[in-house]
Amino acid sequence: MKKLIDYALRLLVICVAASGLLAYVYQSTASRIEENVYREKLFKAKEVLSGRAEEIKKMDHNGLEFFRGFSKGLLVGTVIETSGAGYGGPIRVLSGIGPDGKIIEIAILSHKETPGLGTKVDTSWFKNQFVSKSASGVRLKKDLKPGDADGIDAITSATISSRAVSKAVSEALAEYEKVKNVR
């Protein structure tokens, strides 16, 4: 009995020390992490508009957050963040959409996919497949029904990851329809 209490107390001390350390580390890094994430998002937002935008504006419409890119006061594109359920967790995707409603470029913000397989969603050959596609063309080719025109090639042995990105992009295009006339 005495031994049991001794064990429990020592385990408690270690766990309290560990959680104290973790809380400290979390607190002292949280604001920097948030800042990094936001800066990365702004940077990527410019990227998915293919560098056409000189100015990026953050917008808000009924709780939907998105970015608008302008060049010399003219709208060059809208950037929307969505996510799809990947193999190891959500895959956050940033889609740049032109005023014609077609994808300019996409970028992967974060993912937890299997190294070497699902991580290939972040390669340019996969992402470039989405360029100039509209809502009808962003489904995976293997998910198409006969008669559908165009699709995306999935990554070998990473269908779930590929499908997650394709779903996220089509969600972004659907959200774009809701916000495209917002000024």
């Binding site: 020592r10 270690i14 190891g88 937890k112 190294p115 070497g116």
Partner: protein, 203 residues
Amino acid sequence: MSDKLKYLFNVLGNGILRENPILRLMIGLCPTLAVSTSLSNSIGMGLAVTFVLICSNFTISLIRPFVPAGVRIPIFIVVISTFVTTVDYVMMAYFPALHASLGVFVPLIVVNCIILGRAEAFAYKNDILPAVLDGLGMGAGFLLSISVMGSIREILGNGTLLGMSVFGPSFNPITLMILPPGAFMVIGFLMSALNIATKKGAK
């Protein structure tokens, strides 16, 4: 060379060949098989594991007198996961570029049984300096074997090494090699090669 120095040197070299964690002790196989699809992935995982291994061996050797045998395993796990989470946060805050390329490996380190294995088999029974050297040696052994595996699999399975083409465009890569069956084949060949090589030396 004094006896003490000889012993420390021995501890350091142990993990690289005689007790190579992957090819000899056969621990830490799951991350090895999963991550060794390319050389750059292997190096990333190898470095991250080595770092955590040195730090966890150090910490466990340090708190050794306070840890009773009956609850040592839960305490080891708390120490290791605290450490991995700290590394993850610090990397995210101060080295976002590094985190972007290594981030996927960090959560995998917690379940790497080399770290728990060395905590249990070595750090819990030894002083701080040998424990740190054991971490370094085991980490180096892990890095070495996973990099060899990664190179073989990337060259055969993708026709590249570190992303650069090896055989030119006419090479038709054996995709099987970067899929799980390829991992099992390569590790089997490597283990038998090492066994043959060391048996000859013993005769």
